[in-house]
Symmetry: C2
């Protein structure tokens, strides 16, 4: 059996940075220590942080004192204001690439553009970006959404940083029918694009494709979706134990990639488990 | 037989305006009276103007005195300078919608954008727009062209006013891989889009499609190309006499449209000829 593992699998720069800031905070600051929502979209990594005393709270209302780590996806305007008002210490682990998307959203609104965010309406990154703008902001999940929006004189477009580049292109193309001026800042993280491209190349070559990462991770879900288009035998798992040996029967070439929030130890475990199953088969 | 004639067939606003300005000039100004290149891309209309004493000169070098009518496609920077220097009277019949494309090209260059013009490199409108900019301007004829251009930090995109909207969308989408910021002004003339959409709708319904207009007319060529995708039995003719009765044999539904530079008298003649042929058949 040949196992092809994506070089780009696992933690991206922003997630790595957030994890390091959280580990550092656990050493330096007294409890209570919180994150608002899971620090990253990976239950196993979050569990590990909980072991260090970092608790997940879903709402700022549930935090009254101590230190809060703002997660890589960023935080909404209201939650930030609440934390400041309560005098809670803030460690801002928002990914700098996400901050860049915030910057361009503000830039476009300040210059009078209606704003479109290509992304998932209920993703915390998108919710946070949107929260800083009270009007003329729309989240676009599909090019079809545009038919019921606009028309505008001028429209600005950004993307959720982990969005599919193809969807972004489709929405931009469709927007040209709805506005005379379209101004686009490509805020998709290069790491996302590189990861998606590499995954597609591997999916084309193999007979079975494994994508590891949190079920709550949007970028992992999209990664699996993109791979599935090339190789229908694509399986999204969260941990090694979920690997079904049947998937690998008589598969000469197997591919493995992982989302931006999947820890390297999980990827290693999946790799070992694939090799163990295939070894038994031989 | 049912003959469906496009409501949008024939002279657009800019061509109508240029023709009226030329006819007016023929009454009011003494000879010599010139146009630099054909006033519009229709040999029959140009022949009519020649009958009124308006001569076509291909180069400004060939004009030394009198009055020159600048055609609907606009004129290059150098030619305009030459005409001014020689003291030739200028009647500017450049289409206002083409002027708008010039304006946005200048706006984008002034704000530091590399400029892409989606169009045919040797079309006089595109040549004219391009001539006002000495660097960082590229004409893009296909999305593939982009692969050898850029990358840019910021790129601005406009289109030849009679360009295909689908090509424009494809180029804009492709440019997103080549620049972090893409700023687009949709300079395609609405009349072009309306004409193309209506033509496609008719082409879908008929068994034979006739597109009338100058062989040298880019927008007529594109109109025929777009119709041919829906109805392979699409024929581009310049005048009624070119209609081949064989094309119409046993065709219950026939469609007719015409380019932006096709005079109404030619459309009428084609209509009469189709009816004559089909009448003879019955």
């Amino acid at each position: 059996m040949k196992l092809i593992i994506a070089k780009s699998a696992g933690f991206c720069f922003g997630v790595q940075r957030a994890m390091e800031m959280a580990l550092d905070a656990a050493k330096r600051y007294p409890l209570p220590l919180y994150t608002l929502g899971p620090l990253i979209h990976n239950p196993q990594a979050v569990e590990y942080l909980e072991g260090l005393g970092i608790k997940v709270k879903e709402q700022m209302e549930d935090i009254s004192r101590g230190t809060v780590i703002l997660r890589s996806h960023g935080v909404s305007f209201k939650d930030l204001e609440k934390a400041k008002k309560k005098g809670i210490k803030i460690i801002d682990a928002t990914c700098p690439i996400v901050k860049r998307a915030h910057f361009f959203a503000k830039f476009l609104r300040r210059h009078g553009y209606a704003l479109l965010i290509v992304g998932d309406a209920d993703h915390p990154e998108v919710e946070a970006i949107r929260s800083y703008h009270d009007r003329e902001v729309e989240v676009v999940e599909t090019p079809e959404t545009l038919k019921r929006l606009g028309p505008w004189k001028k429209v600005g477009i950004i993307a959720q940083t982990t969005q599919s580049f193809d969807l972004f292109k489709e929405v931009v193309a469709a927007s040209l029918s709805r506005a005379k001026e379209v101004r686009v800042f490509n805020t998709i993280c290069d790491a996302t694009t590189v990861r998606q491209k590499e995954a597609v190349e591997i999916a084309k070559k193999v007979e079975c494709m494994i994508v590891a990462g949190g079920y709550n991770s949007g970028n992992t879900q999209r990664l699996a979706g993109i791979c599935r288009e090339k190789q229908p035998r694509t399986y999204h798992i969260e941990i090694a134990q979920e690997l079904n040996p049947k998937w690998l029967v008589k598969k000469g070439r197997v591919g493995l990639t992982a989302g931006a929030s999947t820890p390297s130890w999980i990827i290693k475990e999946v790799e070992r488990e694939i090799k163990r199953i295939k070894g038994r088969e031989d």
